[in-house]
Amino acid sequence: MPQPLTSRRALLAAGGTAGLLQARTRAFAQAALEPRVVVVTSFSRDVTTPFVQAFERANPGTKVEIQNRNTAAAVAFIRETRSSPPDLMWASAPDAFEVLKQGNLLAQPRIDTAGIPERIGGQPTNDPDGRYFGFAVSGYGIMYNTRYLRANRLPEPKEWADLTRPVYQGHVGISAPSRSGTTHLTIETILQGEGWEKGWAQLLEMAGNFAQVSDRSFGVPDAVNSGQYGIGIVIDFFGLSAKASGFPVEFVYPTVTTLVPANIGMVEGARNPEAARAFIQFLLSPAGQQVLLDPKVMRLPVRQETYANAPAGFPNPFTNPSLGARVRFNNDVSEVRYELVNSLFDRVITFRLRELTDAWKAVRAAETALGRRDNAEGRRLLNEARAKLTTVPVTEAQAADPAIAGAFRATRPDRPAAGRQAQFEEEWDRHAVAAYAEAKRLAEQAQRAR
């Protein structure tokens, strides 16, 4: 019996043993579309409904059946339903498609991609083997509530570094990268764009301003929309669609961001291959691309001509080449440390947010005090405190070390039990608790120093 593995890592590990599925022989491959097509997707109703309606209008007689699952669950679902799989996998995260591809779970339909550039913002749009296709691109950035900023007299943030400023204390929200594939990409982008140590330092200082680390991707736009807190770190279409729906919010791309394609792929052994192929083709067609500009969808199209119909101020990677260009996102680096980064983020930020924000509050209070009454001893203590608060207990080399990062992959029978994940996590947790307490103490000392 196959183990129920949903982790993408685990999937990758187990995928090799999955074996090739026998392709069904289809006597009438070119026949008319099947009456239904089953789509597994991580996209919300907001995204799927306009596409489904448009597709069904264009292809009467074919019903699109949507099955909502988060990305990891969708991958597991496809793996476990090899006997009667869904037809299409439709999701953001390219890495999920990579997992499926390596597990021989994606078919290779004939799709016409003419008119779609091979790269947007430096990233390849489609799988070179033609097993999955980018139909939109997404970048990551900062969403903020204008009413909230005005009421709290806060400046509008532009760059990640802005979010480290003390003025935003308690006003910023993010979702946990372990819970949200898009946030993971944001974190990884910052780590690659700024470098491991500087990246973590920035993240930890930003975290000092976090009001919340949400466990759902949607927790962040919801909270910014409703003004529970003012600023959220989100994928672009959250901000853009909220704005298009009338919420008093804005969205900006910081310089360090990356454009990543959102994809669709046909599942190997799909029972409705013709309808599935037609759906992919529709997504990539000008008519399908136009749907991306629906106020509730608001994703960046992969066809340049579609941008002509976009509302004013809509980001356009074709005319703004700097968008997403600064970071060359390295998939291999990301791949190796995927679970480790998530777990580390949870240990030092998500689960210890109160301790972390308390320590930062103390540091900032000390900074204010020193601003009025500067002295060397205070500076020294403060620097020490900052160092405690901006260091993670893992080096970049360790994060890439299979002996450590490997512990975060699913257990395999052939791997010795040494270096178990739980031990690392416990170690990091202790480190975080101790470092934050120490930093707080140092900062309080610095505040009193004269």
Partner: protein, 577 residues
């Protein structure tokens, strides 16, 4: 019974059980085995499975070495305990007013006391954020007027706040049922011996109502302890259930820690229930021979009435806050950083009614069937346990009640693993069909129905059944003709509880539902809520859910009331010697 105990099991079976009893037990056991024991067992094996195969305790050692898990464990206990306390503060006075006094607002209490249950907890949490959150209506107004902010929704406090408001009806319903089943003569005897007012309440009434209270309180404890959606929506992660969920969904189902936490959740839940059972032992107050004489309801003094209103009105405002929040959200155009929405519209209702009317009909169908299954199973199990000497009957009860201690997520995954490869005609998997969803809802809510059935059965004096047997009725006839009609009020309550809670169940639903067309309301709400473009349609669906379930609840309540009146107590029963 020394002579009996020494008999071999087979002989005991022959002597102590009739064929119909054995058949009924076998059917119930098969159901529980197939849809609870086996799926959960499959999931649980993982907690003790070593990577190399075989048995290991190393994962448990890891759990107890990890300070985050230990902290989560204490947090969960703390939150569950405090929730019971706050829920009691709300429920006990309401129950006393409801059961003891002729109070003009009684109907209001009865209906509104059920309202929190008809709202999916995660919807409640969303609405509570909007009303009581750091920049919710209340705080925005408070900051405007007094420049103060109440951190009601922050951290563990937020969870306790939301859970207390959501689950206090369990205590209210159990306690008021138990209060109104106390024979009037019990109270009169107390009065006769000089007790009155608060003394009477403290010395006679409340101790007699203790079984009901404990049943409700232990339920609240376990529900809160196991609850996932509320802490998650409030972004509280350092509790056990969220930790298990996070492990299973982010590290992967292959990660044993999720299962270890599941086992611990189950152990604590079982312990809580066992403790309540121990406390209840020897307190079986079937005081009246006629199925409850009813506590005498008395007139309130004007001062008492004012006091009651002063408690009831704020309590109900609090209870209604999530409903008001969700109603506002469903009608709002844009609601952002302001006490009230910018404008109002019915467009969200139009959207959901046009796009997805099936959510509503599915809920009525699935949950109706599930609740019916629950009532039938509940009655049969309660009857087997309390009215027969069938060997193994206690085990049956234990297994059925253990569903309470199984998080929906775990059951859902177990069902998926066990039944995915069973295909229905047409090629769809049994595990993801609506039939399985209905069965899972029934399994999940069976404990409620079973408790209600047990409570109702306890109030039916044995002699009423013996009289039927004496007149020639066999077990089945006695159950159908005497026991069930006498339990009608209690069973209506069981049906309502099962139905309403099934209608708002999400965790197993999320795992099992694959298609919109087969999805119930709670799933629809969840799906609609996943939107950065406004949660209006989700809220609209939420309001529809509340209204529908409220109507059903009211109907069942009306039915129960009619039953109660039919057995009018104009002539008081004579106390048995």
């Amino acid at each position: 019974m020394s002579a009996t105990a020494s008999r071999p099991w087979g002989a005991r079976l022959r002597i102590e059980a009739s064929a119909s009893q054995v058949a009924a037990a076998a059917i119930v056991a098969a159901f529980l085995l197939a849809f609870l024991v086996v799926p959960v067992g499959r999931v649980f094996l993982t907690a003790f499975a070593a990577a190399e195969g075989g048995f290991t305790l190393v994962h448990f050692a890891d759990f107890f070495r990890t300070s985050l898990f230990i902290e989560s464990f204490w947090n969960s206990l703390y939150v569950a305990g405090m929730s019971v306390i706050f829920a009691s503060l709300l429920a006990v006075p309401l129950a006393v007013i409801l059961a003891r006094y002729r109070f003009p607002g009684s109907a209001l209490i009865a209906v509104l006391g059920v309202l929190p249950l008809v709202m999916p907890p995660f919807v409640g949490a969303v609405a509570m954020q909007l009303i009581f959150g750091r920049n919710g209506t209340v705080n925005l107004l408070l900051m405007d007027w007094f420049d103060v902010r109440l951190d009601l929704m922050e951290g563990l406090n937020g969870v306790i706040f939301v859970q207390s408001l959501h689950y206090f009806p369990f205590i209210l319903m159990n306690l008021s049922a138990s209060l109104s089943n106390i024979d009037v003569s019990m109270e009169e005897a107390g009065q006769n011996l000089g007790a009155r007012g608060a003394t009477l309440l403290r010395t006679i009434v409340l101790p007699l109502a203790l079984p009901g209270y404990l049943a409700g309180a232990s339920l609240v404890f376990v529900k809160v302890f196991d609850d996932l959606a509320t802490p998650l929506l409030l972004n509280v992660t350092n509790m056990l259930a969220p930790q298990a969920y996070l492990r299973v969904t982010s590290v992967g189902l292959g990660d044993p820690m999720g299962y270890v936490i599941s086992v611990i959740l189950v152990v604590v839940s079982v312990a809580a229930m066992a403790a309540s059972a121990l406390l209840l032992r020897g307190r079986d107050y079937a005081t009246s021979q006629r199925g409850g004489g009813g506590l005498s309801q008395r007139r309130m003094t004007p001062a008492g009435r004012i006091m009651a209103w002063c408690f009831v009105v704020p309590a109900l405002l609090l209870v209604l806050a999530p409903h008001a929040g969700i109603l506002l959200l469903s009608l709002a155009t844009i609601w952002s950083f302001s006490p009230l929405p910018d404008g109002f519209t019915l467009a969200h209702y139009a959207t959901v009614l046009r796009e997805t009317p099936q959510f509503l009909t599915n809920t009525l169908l699935f949950c109706g069937i599930a609740a019916f299954i629950d009532v039938v199973l509940g009655v049969v199990i309660a009857w087997l346990v309390h009215r027969t000497r069938l060997p193994g009957r206690a085990l049956l009860d234990l297994v059925a009640m253990s569903a309470l201690a199984v998080p929906g997520l775990v059951l859902g995954i177990g069902i998926l693993r066990t039944y995915f490869d069973v295909h229905l005609p047409g090629g769809d998997s049994l595990a993801t069909s609506w039939i399985m969803l209905t069965i899972v809802l029934a399994v999940r809510r069976l404990p409620y129905a079973l408790r209600a059935a047990t409570a109702a059965l306890r109030q039916v004096h044995r002699s009423l059944e013996e009289a039927a047997e004496n007149l020639g009725a066999g077990s089945a006839t006695t159950l159908a003709r005497i026991v069930v009609p006498l339990m009608a009020g209690g069973l209506a309550a069981a049906f309502v509880t099962s139905f309403a809670t099934a209608a708002v169940e999400l965790s197993a639903t999320l795992v099992l539902v694959t298609r919109d067309v087969d999805a119930p309301l709670s799933y629809g709400i969840y799906i609609y809520m996943q939107s950065a473009a406004g949660r209006g349609p989700g809220a609209a669906l939420g309001v529809i859910a509340v209204v529908v379930v409220a109507i059903c609840t009211w109907a069942a309540h009306a039915f129960a009331e009619r039953e109660r009146r039919r057995r009018s107590r104009t002539v008081e029963p004579r106390g048995a010697a």
